[in-house]
């Protein structure tokens, strides 16, 4: 592996690239530092998504963020998938490639969800072996994100932050710290989010994610469909201080508003870069009590029916 995680650049403040914003970006060339794409949306694209991406990649730094590597699955790695991933990377030259510490299915099936891994010595050994295989194949470090989780397995014996730390020590992979996911998972699984962030290997955190969620009273769903809440901004402030600042990106995937609204939400991050001031994270009240879906599909499925020319 030629490149080291510690050599990856700080890209500044970026946004997730979504189809709803294609025209705005091409027309106005907004002052965003970088864009993150969902790798699977472009790996096989020979149509407009890829055409637009090629234009945007000429003007902005791009990072590839995947949802289907399934590094935490007990199934073997899918080398057909990795081959397509690498081909896209060769073509658009992303600053790095990331995915999630999760599994999406076993026995060759795909749930299309980011499922939680059991956190113990057995899974650590299997996952670190697979990370090394991926890094060797891609010839670059793999960056892995902490997912939002809604359960803890009885068989888990290692806290997630410790698991990530061990994973990094064994493979020198990078971490994508999703601050909102830490908050969501800590509420759902009853752990201390500050202890989590304090315990991470900060020097390997390459990127951070911010997003909104939905609080349903007894659990929180990671919906990416609303502004970032104050407790998450507070955690971001802590993570910013501990990492010394790193590439930060806002995800907005459901009920996607106009580009300028997303951009304004991203720029709020500047207000939280001057140090962590609190010793605990404020609690949040319930917002809604409706059934929602984590990881909405809006950003993974093109709205083809609305893309016809008049005919």
């Amino acid at each position: 592996m030629k490149q080291k995680v510690q050599e990856l650049p700080d890209l500044g403040l970026g946004l997730g690239l979504r189809g709803e914003h294609f025209n705005h970006i091409l027309e106005y060339k907004p002052a965003v530092d970088w864009f993150e794409i969902i790798s699977e949306n472009f790996m096989d694209s020979g149509g407009r998504p890829r055409y637009v991406l090629d234009q945007i990649a000429e003007q902005y730094p791009i990072v590839m963020h995947g949802v289907s590597m399934s590094i935490g699955s007990t199934d073997p790695l899918n080398y057909d998938y990795l081959k397509r991933l690498k081909k896209l990377a060769d073509e658009i030259n992303p600053k790095w490639i990331s995915d999630h510490l999760c599994w999406t299915g076993v026995l060759s099936l795909n749930s299309h969800d980011l499922l939680p891994v059991v956190l113990n010595e057995e899974s650590l050994q299997l996952i670190t072996t697979k990370i090394k295989q991926v890094q060797d194949y891609l010839e670059r470090p793999l960056i892995l994100e902490n997912p939002s989780t809604y359960l803890t397995f009885q068989q888990s014996t290692i806290p997630e932050w410790q698991f990530l730390k061990s994973m990094v020590e064994e493979t020198n992979c990078g971490l994508l710290l999703d601050v909102n996911n830490v908050y969501v998972s800590s509420f759902n699984n009853e752990f201390d989010p500050i202890e989590y962030i304090e315990g991470l290997p900060h020097e390997n955190i390459v990127q951070m994610h911010l997003a909104g969620h939905q609080h349903n009273g007894d659990h929180i769903i990671d919906t990416h469909d609303s502004p970032v809440v104050d407790p998450v901004w507070e955690l971001f402030s802590l993570a910013w201080e501990r990492t010394g600042g790193t590439s930060t990106l806002l995800e907005w995937d459901g009920n996607i508003p106009e580009f300028d609204i997303c951009h304004a939400e991203l720029l709020k991050a500047k207000n939280y870069m001057d140090g962590f001031k609190k010793q605990c994270i404020a609690s949040e009240t319930m917002q809604q009590d409706i059934q929602t879906v984590s990881n909405p599909i809006d950003f993974m499925v093109s709205n083809v029916a609305k893309d016809f020319v008049d005919s």
């Binding site: 299309h112 969800d113 659990h219 893309d307």
Partner: protein, 272 residues
């Protein structure tokens, strides 16, 4: 909630692989009660079952959303509730094996054919035929939107010589037993179309400048374009109509000039 020492020991013995197969089974078959406590920890707010239920709910809701996004006209035709019932059964029969949600509906048309209610009846009803045609058409629309093709072409104009006219790379010529194209356009534009009667129809689904276009055509135009697609020769396509349909040469030339003008505007042709 506390679990007994024996249950705790049994839980600890579950391998990584067993845990994942158990969870996946719970997602795909939520109707079967699982031994939740053996795998999932309860918290002060939710039981093990309630924690698992969040994933079960999201799994089917996400894939249902995707099916509706891939088959909006069929969803309208069947009505949302019935469509979702079909979608649920389809997802059980054909769970996704692809890394992309783009492939999710690829077997839906075949599934509807396999499970049509009059499958074994001698006299078939017509509405399942319509639903199957519509499903296959809608999946083709999804494929066409993003299929790989050489888009580095020069647009043909009225001045382009006939020998240099070539069909645009993404060009699907379709014949249906129902007015599929018309129904599709009405449904996705929220014009609430009625279920149609059987009626042969012909259309062109094409992509130009990375945008899809859908155009109804006449049967004679379908045969002309089919021959043109096969031979890439307008002269041969004209000759085919003269030979097969006994069209008079002068009459055909008049029609062709009108077709050419319209099809150039609609982006059927690029310059060879």
């Amino acid at each position: 909630m506390k679990i007994s020492k024996d249950a705790s020991r049994k839980a600890a013995e579950k391998s990584f692989s067993e845990i994942q197969q158990w969870m996946q089974h719970q997602l795909l078959h939520p109707q079967f009660a699982g031994d939740y406590e053996a795998f999932v920890k309860s918290t002060s707010k939710l039981s093990a079952k309630e924690h698992m239920r969040i994933y079960q709910r999201s799994y089917i809701a996400r894939l249902r959303d995707c099916m509706v996004a891939q088959f909006p006209a069929l969803s309208h035709a069947l009505g949302r509730q019935l469509f979702l019932q079909f979608a649920d059964l389809y997802l059980l029969e054909y769970p996704s094996k692809s890394y992309t949600l783009g492939d999710l509906g690829q077997h839906f048309g075949a599934f509807l054919e396999e499970t049509r209610p009059d499958k074994d009846a001698e006299v078939k009803e017509s509405w399942p035929d319509f639903m199957i045609e519509l499903a296959n058409f809608e999946f083709l629309v999804n494929i066409s939107f993003d299929e790989k093709a050489d888009e580095n072409y020069q647009k043909a104009t009225a001045e382009t010589k006939e020998e240099a006219l070539q069909l645009v790379p993404v060009f699907h010529l379709l014949k249906h037993n129902f007015p599929i194209s018309e129904y599709y356009k009405e449904a996705v534009n929220d014009r609430n179309p009625e279920l149609p009667f059987a009626q042969e129809s012909y259309c062109v689904l094409l992509r130009r400048d990375y945008r899809l276009g859908l155009f109804e055509i006449y049967p004679i135009q379908y045969h002309f374009l089919a021959k043109l697609k096969e031979t890439q020769s307008i002269a041969q396509a004209k000759q085919f109509l003269i030979n097969q349909f006994k069209v008079v040469g002068d009459e055909l030339e008049n029609h062709w000039q009108q077709w050419k003008t319209k099809w150039l505007e609609e982006g059927f042709f690029v310059k060879r």
